[in-house]
Every structure is written in C-alpha cells, then in structure tokens.
Symmetry: C2
Subunit: 428 residues, 2 copies
Amino acid sequence: MAPLRSWFPIPPASHFSLANIPFGIISTTANPKPRLGVPIGDHVLDLALFTANNGFARQSTIQPHQHVFSELTLNSFAALGRPVHSVVRKYIQDVFLENTSYPEILKDNAALQKEALVPLKEVTNHLPLEIGDYTDFFVGRNHAYNCGILFRGPENPIAPNYDHLPVGYHGRASSVVVSGTPIRRPFGQIEAEKNNPIQSPCLRLDFEMEMGAFVCKANKMGEPILIDEAEDAIFGLVMMNDWSARDIQFWESTPLGPFNSKNFGTSVSPWVVLIDALEPFAAKGLPNAQQTLPYMQQKNEKNQYDIKLKVDLTSQSGQTATVCKVSATELLFSFPQMVAHHTIGGCPMRVGDLLGSGTISGNEPGSCGCFLESTQGGKVGITLSGGEKRMFLEDGDTVTFSGVCGTEDGGLVGFGECSGTILPALKL
Amino acid sequence: MAPLRSWFPIPPASHFSLANIPFGIISTTANPKPRLGVPIGDHVLDLALFTANNGFARQSTIQPHQHVFSELTLNSFAALGRPVHSVVRKYIQDVFLENTSYPEILKDNAALQKEALVPLKEVTNHLPLEIGDYTDFFVGRNHAYNCGILFRGPENPIAPNYDHLPVGYHGRASSVVVSGTPIRRPFGQIEAEKNNPIQSPCLRLDFEMEMGAFVCKANKMGEPILIDEAEDAIFGLVMMNDWSARDIQFWESTPLGPFNSKNFGTSVSPWVVLIDALEPFAAKGLPNAQQTLPYMQQKNEKNQYDIKLKVDLTSQSGQTATVCKVSATELLFSFPQMVAHHTIGGCPMRVGDLLGSGTISGNEPGSCGCFLESTQGGKVGITLSGGEKRMFLEDGDTVTFSGVCGTEDGGLVGFGECSGTILPALKL
C-alpha cells in the first residue's frame, strides 16, 4: 500500500503517519489548559486552536460537536461513537493530504499552521480519558501458562475456566497515569519466611506489557452489550504497563486476587489509536481449543491486531537492553469479546472505561512481556549493555514500551511510547 | 444517656433521632433536582432550601461552603473534612433542640418548616456520593472461616495472609446503586458438569450483608495515608448489599478473584451516618491472634461500632423471614486500618471512594450474613412465614437490611434500610 502523501513533512519513521491520526490530551507552556491534539509526524495538531480557527468549516457532520475538541479529556469525543470518529479521522487525513480537498483550511493557511502545529517535543501529555472503571484481563495465554507453571506447577498451569472466558479482575482507576509519570516503588507486606510477613519496600518490582482499550459506549445496568454490538464499544487502543509488585502479589492474592501489588500505578501511552487505523492490521489471535460459548462468538475471526511491541530498559547509569519483542496477536480473546463477557451479567460500562488485555508474551526467547517470566521468577538474570544484571527492576530504571503496525513504505501506525521511571520507596 | 429533645416531633422508634443527623441526596416530585437532605424523624430537611433561606445564618464556619448543600452529590461536603462535618452536624442538632440557640432559624419560622421539612415517604433517594473507586474487603472473619470450609476444606479454611492484612479486591464502581434499585438476576457462565460451562441465568443468587465506608480524604499517588491520619479519611458509613452470583463466582474466580459474580449490582443505604454519630457506640472488634504490623497499628482499640444489623426477606407472594441478626463488631480490621493498608503502597484515594467491610457473620445460628453460609452452600433450606423454602434468592424476592445503634431511651442512630428486589434474568 502506498503511503498517504502529505504537503506537511512527515518523517517516514514516524509512528504518526497520515494512516494513523490518533487522539490525545495535550498542554503546552504557552497554553497550560489541557485540550485535544492529534500527532502528525513530529508535530501535534492542537484541535482546540484548529477548531477555534474554523478548521472544521468544511465538515458539517462534526460542526455541531466541535466543543468536544476543547474539553479536558477525550470522553465527550469518544461518546460521539465510532461513525463520528471515522468522519473526524478521515477529514483530518484529507486536510493534510498533498491533494487536499480543502487547501484553504491549513495547507494554504500559514498563520494557522504556525499556531496550531506544535512540535511534539514541546507538548505535555495528559491522561487521555477520565476513567470510570478499569478492568484488567489476563488473556495472554502464553503469559498465563508461564505464570501458571511458576504459581500452580507444571502439571496444571492453566485453570479449567481459562479457555472458556476472558479471566479478569477489577483494577484501580485512580492509579492509572499517563506515560512519563514516575512510579514509586511500593511499600507493602512481603513474606520474609513462610507465613511470616514483614513491611518492606517491594523487592521484586516488575513491568507487564499489555494493550489497553478505551470504551466509547455505555450500557444500562442489567442490559448487556451483545457481541455484535461490542466492536462499536471500543474507541481505540493504547499500550499499558501494569506495574506489578511480585512479592506483595504472591503474599496477598489468596483468595481474592491481586490488590496492592497492582494499584500503585498503571501507565498508558498518551495517544489513543482508533480501531479504524488498526483495521488494516487485523489478524487472527491465538487458537482456542475450546468452543467459545454463543454470547462470545465473534463473526470476524481476525479480531486481534498485529502490533509489533517492544520493551526497552534503561538503567540510571544509562545501560540498556531490549527485554521483549512480541506481537499483540498473542491473545486468546479480543476486546469485543471482553466487553461481551464483562457485560453479560449486566455490569454497566461507561464511556472512558479502560480494559487491559493482560500481559502479552510469545513462545520464543526474548518475547516475554514481564520479568517474572523472562527471569523465570528471578532465577535467570538479564544482562544490560554495560554488564549490569536484572532479575527485577532497580530504582532509577526506565521501562519504555513502543508499538507499531505496518511499514514505512505504507506509512506507520504507531503508539509512540509508554514509559516510566522507578523512584525509590519512601522511608516509612 | 437522655435523648436530645426537639421542638419537632421525632417518633422514638425513628432511626433518625437528633443524635444521628446523617446526610443523603434527595429529590422530590416538586423539585426533581438532586440535592442534600438530612432525615429528622419522619421528615427530611432539604438542605438546599434551608441554605437558600439563610438557614446557616448563625454558623459562620459553614457559610463560605454553603454551595455544597445544593450539589448533586455529597462529594464536596465530604471533601470539607471531618471538623467541618462535625460543625454542620452540631449546628443542625442545635437548630432542632427544644432549647435551640437559634429559634428564629426554624423553630419560630413556620414558613420555612413547611417548605424545607419534607415527609420522608415523599422523598426519592439517590446515590449519596459519586464513587471514584470501590474496594470490597473481606474482614468478617467468621464469614471468611465459613466460606473457607466450603471452598478450601475444613483443615485449612483461613489463608495464611488473612490475619495479617485486610484481604480485599477492587470492585466495580459503576454497578453501585442506591437502596430500592431493582437487581436483575445475572446471566453468565456456570459449570454444568465438571470443567464444562454453559451460559445460563445465575441459579445461586445471594446477598451479602456488609458495611460500607465513604472516603473523604484524597492522597497523592505514591504517598500513603498513615494509620494516625486514616481515621480522618472516613466520612461516614452505610449498609451495603454486595449481591453475589455464587455459581458464576465458583467458576470464574480462579486465579484472579470474583468478577462478573459481583459486578451486576451492589446496593447501599441512602443516608451516610457520620463517624461522629457512631462514636458513642465504638466497641472492640474480633480479637486478632497475630500481631498487626506497625503500619496498621491503631491507637484506639475500640475501632468498630456496635451496629445491630438485620436482614429480612420478603417473597413475591408476601412471605417473610428474618434471615440474619448480627453486630457490625464481628470484623477483624477497622476501616482506618483498611485505608492504611490500601494506601501503604501509594494507591491514591479520592473523595467518594467506597470501601466495603466484607460480609459480616456471627458465630451463632441465625447470624450469617449471606445464604451461602446459612444454607451451608445450598444444603439446608430456610423456611419463610408461609412455608416457602429458600436455598438462594428467587425472582421477586426483596432483601432488606436494617441497622441501628443505641436505644430509644437515648435516641436511635440508625441507617434506615438498604433493600433490593430481584428481577428475572433477561432472555438472551
């Protein structure tokens, strides 16, 4: 596929080609009020300014809804629904096309270009949506298998329910933060000797490479979102780091699941990539040996996306390592299936709710989405560029995810980065 | 203790004596806009009207904050902090005292009495606070023990972590509703034969008698609320019915805990009873055989409240039974201890967050806070007044909690009711 050519310079290696058009919340030194922005190459289109300067003058569908572009979060834009997201994305693409239908809007409007196109590096990102509830699933089957061997033993690593439903748990919405926010090493209870806990900083701090999906459709309590409607319930995807305190998790999780081991911070990438932008990269996920029950049967078999994910670690002293490379297809259930399952009992979704996929791991060496797996529970160290070793994360370590679809030839559809640096634990 | 006597008629059996002064969100047919109200006997003081008519003229501390009484939820009032809640409660008490210091405010103001004192039965209640996150703990040790025998076997009913930390899980904020909201029987996956699920309406629908606490203090991510500050983080208490689908729960909960079995509805009583009102009923909770770690050591040993709780069931045909009587002292950890534990790793609390105690059960017959325990997992039926039997809830059943402290002599401090009626499952 030839890339969409633009009058505006877009570096070929940019995650933000015209094929992408993701949405985020930005502020700048000049204007600290958060508002919507769309990254294009190395710049961000300030949608509040673009709107205020009649940027949407040639798109009548959008005009009644223009106020959403000046809001503090993407929630109102998301609530407009996928057909409107499509129209907005296509219009912005057209405005930037070499042969744009609307040259007067931006191509021939140097004053607005100067004002509304802000260098990406001058922009501060904010959490893209206000999250009502956050649910973390566990549908990376290779991860579940590898963890199952560590926690449940090699005879029976996968629980009997696993292939029948997307296993998940309710997470903590208040602790979801945007990429770049530092993460403090949590304090908590860890088992010093068997059944004998102490209060201590976490000694086995880990990352988890996940994809997150934001919900754009609400349902009333008691009324499920059926599988055929569930695709329209997904606004778009982000990368997500579900930071995990393994020693706290190991001690606290019986019988109700992880709690403080997860609620000290979850990072998401700043730009929400719309499902429309991902459709060309749709692919089959992991095969399921079980017949899925009717309420989760999705017509479209290509219900995952071939997003090439990568995790890099940089130590405080600047040593580096790429610690994971994996495709986002390594998942057993899709986000629409998660929505159908989550709501089948009547649980209400709200616009802005966040769903996490669970850790994504492959089967090959170097494809594990967390240290717990790649170090085999802290047994096999990972060596950084200068010889430092890691079993788990040290203070000052920065973990950076990147994710991208497609090729430079066709124009990349990428997620940018999701990063966080570990701060030392407080002294309590 | 002699009751506080009022110039306004307050029936002695009312949960809303002058010793109480709880807060809720009300609307009426005449004024459908939600706003704050305080029940007094059989009436509710409309705080928006009271404020608009200079009701707080004699209380200068409150005046700068008066706008909070016209808001749609209690969040802004809660955020003012416990010292302000105390001032407001005492002032309203004084306004209603027989020998009020401010007779001109209401006692001698028949016009305002007529306008601002609405009969309780004419009032519609709304969810008292907007809930950011909802966490459900499991600190009713008798309940944990009884369930442990059913799920883990009689040798080892209590997990090793149980006495060391308040075990809990993140719940679903979107599904918390106010008393009176109907609860639809959830559809979901249940195990028809071993490891072989079907999609079906829940066949083992249960209630859970809990207390809930609303948080009135926020902390930044990474900065815990220490135990000495945690008492000031609790705004007040409500009764809470954590409706539970036991068959869905049994199948889905390995390894990450309950999910769809809990997120189809959680009911709370409408009036938030302030901690100040409960202090006279402070009592010791269950003894803990383990030494609590320093970060959870609370100076005050009387950290529970002797609230007499009762659960009544009424079938569609009008048959009734009292299915539980228990004191809220049957808990192992206090709400301040839950806050200290919840935030020790840095998890941020927001004003309006809801904490559930977990099911409260005693040791005697008739004191179990759910059917799972009282019917021994569906083995021993409970007989209603007309001979109907229950193992679990049937369609049309109404479950009503009530809870009250003190005696009529001293003036009751009660929670009113928390009720819900089971609607039949949807046909899918």
